[in-house]
Symmetry: C2
DNA sequence: CAAGATACGTCAATATGGCTGTCCCATCTT
DNA sequence: AAGATGGGACAGCCATATTGACGTATCTTG
């Protein structure tokens, strides 16, 4: 996109307003990549009559056992009511269980049951297959760049939360 | 991660079954990055009483003027009925117009009106601000990696379509 | 200890964006 | 002339999200 290499007097325009092509490319690849990856687990979910919303909850509970409801709400950024139905479904299928918090008994600590662990692992396999293939095709340096750009898309406020998820990897 | 540097007898396990941490990290960053980016335009859309589905159509019509309905259906991978409602809304607001195809008059060629162009540009500004900031923070080499990994997530069948979008950039 | 804040649950109503199945019309192809 | 294709439209359904109000148990603090 026509960054004029002329006019050396004017300072380079802010990068925020340059590179429309690069931005469009990112928007499109993000759209296709994200939607195609998420589609890869729909079949597995459908076997249990569950949807993507259930998977998101399942995934983050698997990731951080003993997560509380309010922590999960922050991660998913949906309302309590929306999450409520999802957790009811997961509980009814015996995939998730809750216990009272230890230091604060108002809290509910969320955990996967053994069935939940097995089911999440099955779904994760599909994600792993797709992502690992993409990583392998792109090469390790690309993976680092992939992460860096995505991190930059997360508002600073949310980064603490994301970092917390990954702290004990 | 722990790829054991020991056991030189066993061949390295298939990369598809290694690196759970890296895969989880990718899944999470993709989730947060994608959802946060898309949220950045919700406000602008709400001013017109439109949703994300409308934006996706608007975006790809902006990207490829004179797109046909069936091409757009392939890109979005939704049903004709779902797209129909979206296009009706966009047409009613004077953002999108159609003309009969030139070589095949059954086709409808989709285009943004001047209002549509202006509105899409406004929404795109929000995306550009977010993405360009992430690009700048990550550095150009990272951007390349970001693209490569995402390309790898797109099923080979769909890559032609994505490449077509970007061919005249 | 009483008052208030917090964690969670729940009711009712609503919006959005998908889906299936069916049928129709106009136009192109053979 | 017959069939295939591009597009539109009907009816009904489902999943996932929303807001707002209210209830209960528990923790915190003056």
């Amino acid at each position: 996109m026509a960054v004029p290499s002329s006019s050396p007097v004017t300072p380079a325009a802010s990068p925020l307003f340059l590179r429309e092509h690069e931005v469009r490319r990112g928007v499109e690849l993000l759209f296709f990549g994200y939607t195609r990856l998420t589609r890869s687990i729909d079949e597995g979910l459908a076997e249990h009559g569950l949807g993507r919303a259930h998977h998101r909850a399942l995934y983050f509970i698997a990731r951080q056992p003993d997560l509380t409801i309010s922590e999960l709400l922050k991660i998913l950024a949906i309302t309590k009511q929306s999450l409520g139905r999802v957790l009811t479904d997961l509980g009814a299928q015996g995939l998730v269980e809750t216990r009272a918090g230890v230091t604060d008994r108002r809290q509910k600590l969320l955990r996967l049951t053994p069935d939940g662990v097995a089911f999440e692992a099955r779904l994760f396999d599909a994600l792993r297959t797709s992502l690992a293939a993409a990583y392998a095709a792109a090469g390790q340096e690309s993976v680092t760049g992939f992460w860096r750009v995505l991190e930059g898309l997360i508002p600073p406020n949310d980064r603490v939360m994301v970092a917390a998820l990954q702290k004990d990897m």
